[in-house]
Symmetry: C2
Subunit: 501 residues, 2 copies
């Protein structure tokens, strides 16, 4: 059970330094916004929505005395603080260099969020300005680190920090590093709305003139709030030649699952990337090596799929929150033997095809097993051979007995259909489902409910009730199957890497 020592182990001293330094980006003691104008209103609203202490928020505007009910300082000279933890810079690109020189001559700045876009992703002039920023930040006297340019910023509920007003206040266990603020926002926003997901930290990092993906990955790997990491990745930064190597070294030592959604996988997609963050493409063989040798898990190609995957990982880590990292790894799904429970016919056939094509195995109940099931309840209508097709018994006591017998040792995962429409008696139904869930969990197996997505009030109410009662509920079987396989594959990889299997 000992952990494999890798030759590429990251130096501890640097890690601790890195950790310390990013703390103030996510949990700044003060935030300065320059220039304060209506366009940055949602940064202010974002901080307010997270309960950031407004006494520590400073707005700077050469022309305004007030914005959103907050006082504006006319220049950096007027600021009553010497050290700025997080400076949000939202000024025209032509003014950035002059502003930086001015600010650095007057204040110590720990982090800058360059909101300004129209840089290297736009044209030669933008690239020129970005290079100048890079040169200024490389000056050894300047200890400032930065995200962006061309990015939305930071989200960290435990630091009362958010670039958007509609993100959850509650802190969770998912951290996100994203080349796109849009994708970060949709993942956090829709993930919260659909599955009540909560997040530890999110960083939209844009064109990466200073901080790179690897800096955040290293930080999140050691962050106690974070169990799961998602990267939205468009390509390597033009500023760090060793970034690929660094990422590989980090990933190979990672003890947390890292999901990745890649933008620009196709040649045509790459040309779109150029006008987005200007990142550079990566040969596919590098990715194949990464997927094979590190716990990096690729997630298909939609936000929907990303959120599905995060949800399933989130539930797993939430349930096992109190375990040690070793024990968590031991708890990861062990196999692909699936049992499907339906309440009627045809959908079981489609399910069998879908799961088989995804790589699951549905043990066929035959011989002794079949006899045992038949003894419990000799169904005339339906089937006991997996899928369990039980149209008329779902309200009887036999139902639980049948399920228990079917779930015995060789099953890893149970997919069970449920439906809001026939659920006149939701409470009774919930009680029965809870009994099945408790039994499945007592056997160290996983139960996923499938509840089709419809805009009915009943469906929304039923879904909420199920989620509140600790059920994992997916709208569609294939989506559930893919998410399960991602966690299963992660388990296989991490156990192999750590010489456990």
């Amino acid at each position: 059970m000992s952990r494999l020592k890798k030759e590429f182990t990251i130096k501890t001293s640097k890690s601790i330094e890195n950790m310390k330094s990013l703390d103030l980006l996510f949990k700044p003691r003060n935030v300065v916004i320059f220039e304060a104008k209506p366009k940055v209103g949602y940064f202010i609203e974002g901080l307010k929505s997270q309960g950031f202490n407004l006494e520590n928020l400073y707005l700077i505007s050469p022309s305004k005395d007030e914005l959103s009910g907050l006082k504006c300082y006319n220049s950096f000279d007027d600021l009553p603080i010497e050290t700025i933890d997080l400076l949000i810079l939202s000024i025209k690109r032509d003014l950035v260099i002059q502003a930086l020189n001015n600010i650095f001559s007057k204040k110590k700045v720990n982090f800058i969020h360059f909101f300004t876009a129209g840089m290297s992703e736009s044209d030669e002039e933008g690239l020129f300005i970005e290079n100048q920023i890079r040169r200024i930040l490389e000056n050894p006297e300047i200890t400032t680190r930065a995200i962006g340019p061309n990015c939305f910023g930071i989200y960290c509920p435990s630091g009362n920090n958010s670039y958007m007003p509609f993100f959850p206040n509650k802190s969770g266990n998912i951290a996100i590093i994203s080349h796109s603020g849009d994708i970060l926002s949709r993942t956090v926003g829709n993930g919260a709305l659909i599955y009540n997901l909560t997040f530890s930290k999110g960083a939209s990092i844009g064109n990466c003139v200073s901080l790179q993906v690897s800096d955040f990955l290293e930080y999140f790997n050691q962050d106690e709030e974070t169990d799961i990491i998602l990267i939205y990745f468009e390509g390597f930064s033009r500023y760090e030649k060793l970034e690929g190597r660094k990422l590989f070294e980090l990933l190979i030592n990672m003890r947390k699952p890292v999901l990745i959604l890649r933008g620009g996988k196709t040649k045509r997609g790459q040309s779109a990337v150029l006008s987005h963050t200007g990142s550079l493409g990566t040969p596919e063989r590098i990715w194949h090596a990464l997927y094979k040798q590190t716990p990096l898990i690729e997630v298909g190609s939609s936000i929907e799929e990303v959120i599905d995957h995060l949800y399933f990982f989130y539930e797993f880590y939430k349930k096992n929150r109190d375990l040690s990292l070793d024990a968590k790894i031991d708890k990861l799904p062990k196999g692909k033997n699936a049992l499907v429970i339906i309440w009627s016919g045809g959908i079981g056939i489609i399910d069998t095809d879908v799961l088989t094509e995804l790589g699951f195995n549905l043990p066929l109940f035959k011989g002794e097993k079949e006899e045992k099931l038949n003894k419990i309840y000799p169904v005339k209508i339906g089937s006991l051979s997996n899928p369990l097709d039980l149209p008329w018994v779902s309200r009887s006591e036999k139902y639980l007995e049948l399920c228990k017998e079917a779930i015995s040792e060789d099953i890893d995962i149970v997919f069970m259909h449920t439906d809001a429409r026939f659920g006149r008696n939701l409470k009774k139904r919930l009680d029965n489902l809870t009994k099945i869930k408790n039994y499945v969990e007592s056997q160290n197996k996983i139960l996923i409910l499938i509840l089709p997505e419809t805009p009915e009030k009943n469906r929304i109410r039923y879904f909420r009730a199920l989620v509140e009662n600790g059920f994992i509920v997916f709208p569609e079987l294939m989506r559930a199957g893919k998410a399960y396989l991602a966690l299963y594959n992660y388990g296989i990889k991490i156990k192999k890497m750590e010489n456990r299997i």
Copy 2:
């Protein structure tokens, strides 16, 4: 433009006979239910919900005088009618043969719906009973035809006929033939809830002892209410050796799109089929030939995908309802050149990858085109090169101008993201979108909006408003892209078959 005459043309006389005969199945003048007991309550509720004249509904029960407020006759002798259009038979399997002989000795029956299950799909005894039914129906003196056994029955709103109480009353243009009542019910029920789909006819046909898929396909091909046909197919019936050949001949002459969802595609799925309808498997090469040589379109592997496809086809045929069949075929999508319009960054990259992988082409706006767009609005932030990434102009007049210029001749399909969250001013937003939609349609192109699925009230309200205003709205780009390609591919096939291209 002349239609290709096929050598396998179905004989007209038989077709007309077939049409006539199935009319009374979908639109019976009377319905008899035997045996009337609480279990068949939803047949009664289904008929009631569709406004079936209850004076023409006859319940038979040897023991009851009343059910659901309706009088029960004690035997067929008491029935005040001589000819039964539709008899729903729900009795224990052991009693079926005796009942049939008794009924046929007293009444003329046009159609029987054998609800009874536990037949050939269950065991040898069931198969034996089913074979006896077959033999009785083969008697040349008996003109009765039947669906089932082991099936839910018929849905036909224009015939006030339904086996379920929650299906739409409004009649539409989609007909369904299904080996599974469950899949029929989910498609109709969820399709109506999600996209307001409406249907012409639905038949759950179970073990096919009498009527086969081909009988319904032939009928629907000539049914004026039907534009689109969906088949859920598990395999060929054991009772009709020539069914495969018949289906092929029908399909090759079909002038309506036929979507098919297949159950039992995998070997493991086939073993599940055996205990469902007992249908026989079909070699994959037969399917490949069918997909290649007929307008049959395979739909992936979920009800969700089926409903998505039906929705897109439904909207197309609704919009072109008044055109001749030839003109409809001419209107089918002509190409795979896509324009993507987004309001911010990263999602455009993912979209580009997804559409490219699906086989779409996203023309890159360069040279003259780029200059034209730049003259209209020289974006500094975002991109004009397709995806059109327009973060700050969506409320300006320039927006419409930019879209118009981008949509010019070489674009076939426009995918446009929209979002309920930022939609404080839904009316204004709807006005702008309507202008774009009108322009796109005036150019004979198609606009699909992408609105992510979230359980927000705003989202539900916005979605409803869009649908009511004639927009096609999908929750996810890949799902929209697949549905578009299905209609496009159907167009290519039907035009080739009719020697138009």
